[in-house]
Point group: C2
Amino acid sequence: MHERLASILGSLLLDGRLPIHARLPSERSLAEQLRVSRATVANTYENLRGEGLLVSRPGAGNWTTLPARRNRGAAPLAPGIRSEPGVLDLAIAVPPPALEVVTAAFGWAVANLGPELAEDQRLNGHGYHPAGIPQLREAIAVRYTERGAPTTPDQIMVTTGAQGAVHLLARQLVTSGDLVMVERPSYPNAIDALRQANARLVSVSVSDGSWDIDQMTGVLAQANPVLAYVIIDFHNPTGAVLPAGDREALVREATRRSTLLLVDETHVELNLDGAPMPPPLAAFDRRDRVISIGSLSKVFWGGLRVGWIRATPELVRRLALERRSVDLAGSVVDQMAATYMLTRLGELLPGRLDVLAHRRDALLAALEKHLPSWSPTRPAGGLSVWARLDRPMSTALADAAERHAVRLVPGPRFGLDGTLERFLRLPFALRAEDLERAVERLAAAERTILTDAALRRSA
Amino acid sequence: MHERLASILGSLLLDGRLPIHARLPSERSLAEQLRVSRATVANTYENLRGEGLLVSRPGAGNWTTLPARRNRGAAPLAPGIRSEPGVLDLAIAVPPPALEVVTAAFGWAVANLGPELAEDQRLNGHGYHPAGIPQLREAIAVRYTERGAPTTPDQIMVTTGAQGAVHLLARQLVTSGDLVMVERPSYPNAIDALRQANARLVSVSVSDGSWDIDQMTGVLAQANPVLAYVIIDFHNPTGAVLPAGDREALVREATRRSTLLLVDETHVELNLDGAPMPPPLAAFDRRDRVISIGSLSKVFWGGLRVGWIRATPELVRRLALERRSVDLAGSVVDQMAATYMLTRLGELLPGRLDVLAHRRDALLAALEKHLPSWSPTRPAGGLSVWARLDRPMSTALADAAERHAVRLVPGPRFGLDGTLERFLRLPFALRAEDLERAVERLAAAERTILTDAALRRSA
């Protein structure tokens, strides 16, 4: 009995559903609530202490905690400097390169470079465009307008990928010690950029494919963060989409509390099933509370380093100045290639979505076959599946997978505090046959963990 | 008499040769030293107070200071978001685009993109190369080795321009409050990046085309900064080159004091007169105290956003990780174009240097003709002339020039503390005819300032 109870409490904690440093009831009080003997609760707490999940101070109380080795917050979510032959990389969620689109786009860019290189005071022959080249700013503004958020080019700033956008905005908008709301799970590199601006972070949970809008607006009302970073269009990593009504409620509360909403839309064009999407968050914004960021790196090729920010013309001007000490400006040729892609999106996207949908289905089929006890999401868009494991073993699995030539990022890296041990992000960017091979290796890695655990128990 | 004395002291201060917040001698003591009457000194100090250059507290002493309006430290050194037709831009020092080289390099890049886009685990099909694409790291290492600093590719990290390099290094190497040595004048955007890492800055002077090596080593020995940022190959903005013997002395002292030397070599290939150059600073380094940064943006085209860092393999690995929260990686196509340029440098550079040398000479001839009382440097390389003006009026001149459709960055922007009012950086990147036109407008702007001043005096 006490083992089962300890296991339930431990799971709640490691999944992030029970917060860390939360005070648990006293033994007597919990015994009463659960109608079990006090000895059962005492043994439960003893078990939790043994696993490093609980600290108790006699007379003071019991607090949840995490064992030191689970807290791998610093694990890199970055591709290796060199890729290793034979290693299947599930650590990064980037699309496979769209060979034909990329070649056509860059070919067009080079063929049309003439005016950009003209040494003419009326043009920008020097090649520095802190806010982006005019054609691309125009194309991005048109795309927002099409999606339902009327936009002018002076509201657009082009950045070095979406990561460059988050980095610039974190520097500009966050003062040391400011409170920032993020989702749990969320995109680790964005979290890192906010942390490096010395933000204090508070998280709201995205679980079972949805947000708790009351929890979100409650945190805005009570904690009153200066900024909230959200990914509501094919959320990374879960794939969830925030419904229109909740979008409206979120903007309303943020407007009331003067919180800026930073919405990361890097996945929005990856609508694999073609289901109708709610309007973009910016469409609900009347008071300049919404700042949107986007990218083409997640659509056609990671090597294209083009992202952007949609904000007020005033903020765009400030960011363009701020950028002079960061990277001055972005690649002009990449921006021209992005202009080609964006102005032909309707024609170029369907082939892309077919490839990705096929790979998603291949990954889900492989999981069903080789790891049937896991519960993966079936995302309608984006680049990854978020799988619920049998038990809290994400970090152990990532370690074991490395020995089976699969690179993984353990679930806790997507949270703030070492929880989410029961989850794993599985990108479906690799070829179908490589995805099946990777899942086979994962199943083998899981068996070694379970065997090790069984051996330890019997020892 | 007292007016001349006040003018001399005022000039020393505004040129940066007399520090701010320096204590001046008492009236009596200065009168004795200069063998003038005490009344003359009293009137001199009164004049300086009137110009906002001196604060005095009776019984306590006299300190140099600066009037508030001269301190325009925040003026942007960045191209405008939009270029304005008819405005001649002398605010940025970027090369004119090398039309043929750029077109050929990007054409080659696109034609050879195939392997980079191959969806193959052995290659990096995802397009993210945090440390740079292997071919370019190799080409950069070869170039350092040719210049006299043997280098392996794992010592090279490719960045988003040289500015991206300074930004990453400032974040990685500077802890809040650390002391960093810079030159005066120096490159403002680098200074900004160091300031934003909360460095405390101390400066050593580069004047009349040379460094005072004893002052430099003295600051290293006494103030013991963690880092020194220097531009010793065609210094920006003066064009000066540090001789080999001084390089050796600088590295020796930095090694003794455990100071890291960050040497900005972005101008090193712009050797306009083809004079033999001293070995690179890294060639004198035995203890990993030298970190070098370079770029191709200042050679062929500003729109090519490729810079790099040469450091230890260990630091390169750390920076590649650090980068994940900044911009993840750089443009692959830009890096391929840079590889083309760098591996054919011997063939592509001469035509480039001819163009720039011609423009430098055109600028100097125009200054000689229209502003003969200014004293410009005649730099053997780089992209700009550093001109000494008749009087401390750089900020006023930049304001007046704007009304004559010329963009300038006033001299104080290249220092730390609002001094350098007697100097002006003049890039020679524009076409010869535009340079002459710009100098004509500057002469007109100067006349309006002098007329205004004369009118004020007679009023």
